[in-house]
Amino acid sequence: MSREARVWLAICLVSGGFLLYRGAFSDAGLGRIYVKPVAARPTIDSEAPGAAAAADEVPQAAREAAAEGAQGNAPGADAGAAANPGGPAAIPAPLVGEGQAWETARRGESGARVSIPRTVGLWLAAFFTLAIFSFLYRDNPCYRFAEAVMVGVSAGYAMVAGFWDALFPKLIARLAPATSQFLTGQREVAPVEWWALIPLALGVLLLLRLAPRGGWLARWPLAFIVGTYAGIRLISFVEADFVAQVRQSIIPLAVFDRNGQFDIWQSLQAVLMIVGLLSALCYFFYSLPHKGLYGRVARVGVWYLMITFGASFAFTVMGRIALLAARLEFLFDDWLWLIDPLSRRGTGG
């Protein structure tokens, strides 16, 4: 191990040890998740008669007062109800399925208890976060492991979503309505829709791509997908990104304000916009050689495009930093409890 690596290891061990000590042996605490039984909220099916009308009558001021009460250290639901005792929030909520479903609670909230599975999950999430960050130092087995898990879980999740949100309602529910009724709790069994056999057949053909023989048949569903996309996009791009953009660019270059006075600032902006658009379009038109006057106009277009890319670069930087800030906030707030910006643990911000 190099000297530099030893220094880094020592820094990590000392700071990690301090954080563990702080969490384990002080009041500050460390990475736990609390849960409470789900209390079903009144819904349209379960509400008391007239509750909907009562809710409609709550004035704006009362809603703002309730919102004000729901902030701070107190558990939101309790505080909101206290701030609006006469409103519909006071309607007793029937508890359906209580004791079987749990939801996240605040530390110290009535009925809250530590959830072992979620706490384990929190530490696992912290491990995964650090494992991915470890790639910044160098490639290592922790990173490779996390990466492998990411690929597997992502693909598995996509397939589950594809089954339950696409294949089930659009295919299985139409061809086997009785199964659908059992799995969704629908009151009535819908009639079988035989036309759904066509997309089923196309779907099976698509899966033939993986078969050792007959893979060419997968071109049929692929052609359907490409053809549908081509048709949809031909219309939408021409309508929204061509015609509408040209229409929005036909603007007066001399702008007058409400009093009829010439507005030099707005006029200048309009001229700059049109000059930029036309010159950038000239740059994209390669059928004419970029020489002479045309070349100079195209060069102005390049300048506009460079400014556009500069702005895009700055925005991209902003986006990436926001994502990093969110991950660090997870580590500092949810896991290490170093900060409490949302006052979830009553330790202040």
Binding site: A55, R63, A66, E68, Q71, G87, S236, A240, A311, I321
Partner: protein, 283 residues
């Protein structure tokens, strides 16, 4: 200056880590000045008559939640404060938890009088990307016969009278890419003329400007757009001017220091290159 030429990239990574972490640990906050494009979205939500129907499509997954979650929260709060009827949906398979958490962590906690089915409905996710938008533009029930909980839309008071996108007073897409704001412009706001407001990631935002104002009434661009919206909400409803309800304002502090770091790195990189050129090529 020569040492800059051989600077290990990991020192730059460490500098970036500190630039983001220190303002977060110190809980620094900076004031925000709302810009016209955010103001336009705020004014639209504010001026809609109470009880207007708003479609909130959360087209993002966990990857962009750090950027987009705060603006979703701010918009959902604003709609609830105005007692608008909010219909949630997502075009991203991993966008379902974003809808669920907005309902359970924002609406169920802060707006106790709001009832599922009457004031808000979760339609969930549908595969098909822009084809879903194109279909619900004319027939909502072809895509969503039931809500995400399995209740037929006709049995929910909010959705019973909604047949297509033209039945909404406002469409909002909080978008992280494809499918997202572009598709909502192409298949909803352009052909139908229904007002569309957009929240977008920083990467996507610059590409959306040509749509304003003809096809899009405003945009909440990146975390700053969300911060501006939170400030506007706080100015109008003082209960929402508290730090615990201004996630985006809080996250603007790391942006401040990290942007300065990026500028410093570009300047240092150029100085280093100039130094190298002045010194001449290495023997």
């Amino acid at each position: 200056m020569g040492w800059l030429q051989n600077l290990d990239r990991r020192w730059i990574y460490l500098a970036m880590l500190l630039a983001v972490a220190i303002p977060q640990l110190l809980q620094v906050r900076f004031p925000e000045q709302p810009t016209p494009l955010v103001q336009a979205v705020f004014d639209k939500v504010e001026q809609l008559p109470e009880g207007s129907r708003v479609l909130l499509s959360l087209d993002y997954g966990p990857v962009s939640a750090g950027e987009l979650e705060p603006m979703t929260a701010a918009l959902a709060r604003h709609c609830c404060l105005k007692r608008h009827k909010v219909v949630f949906m997502t075009l991203w398979p991993d966008g379902k938890p974003a809808v669920e958490s907005t309902i359970t962590k924002i609406i169920n906690v802060e707006f106790l009088e709001h009832q599922y089915g009457r004031d808000h409905v979760d339609l969930g996710y549908k595969a098909g990307k822009e084809v879903v938008i194109k279909t619900i533009a004319t027939n909502l029930r072809l895509e969503f016969e039931q809500d995400n909980r399995g209740t037929p839309l006709d049995e929910l008071p909010l959705t019973a009278g909604i047949n297509n996108l033209e039945d909404f007073e406002l469409l909002v897409s909080i978008s992280a890419g494809f499918p997202g704001l572009k598709e909502w412009v192409q298949y909803a706001s352009s052909p139908l003329g229904v007002p569309l407001a957009v929240g977008a990631t920083a990467v996507q935002a610059p590409q959306a400007y040509p749509y304003i104002p003809g096809q899009m009434l405003g945009i909440l661009a990146a975390i700053k757009g969300a911060a501006e919206y939170e400030v506007l909400l706080g100015n109008r409803y003082p209960a929402y001017a508290t730090p615990t309800r201004q996630d985006a304002v809080r996250r603007m502090a790391p942006q401040f220091s990290a942007h300065l770091l990026i500028i410093a790195l570009i300047v240092l990189g150029n100085l280093s290159a100039l130094w190298q050129r002045w010194k001449g090529p290495n023997p």
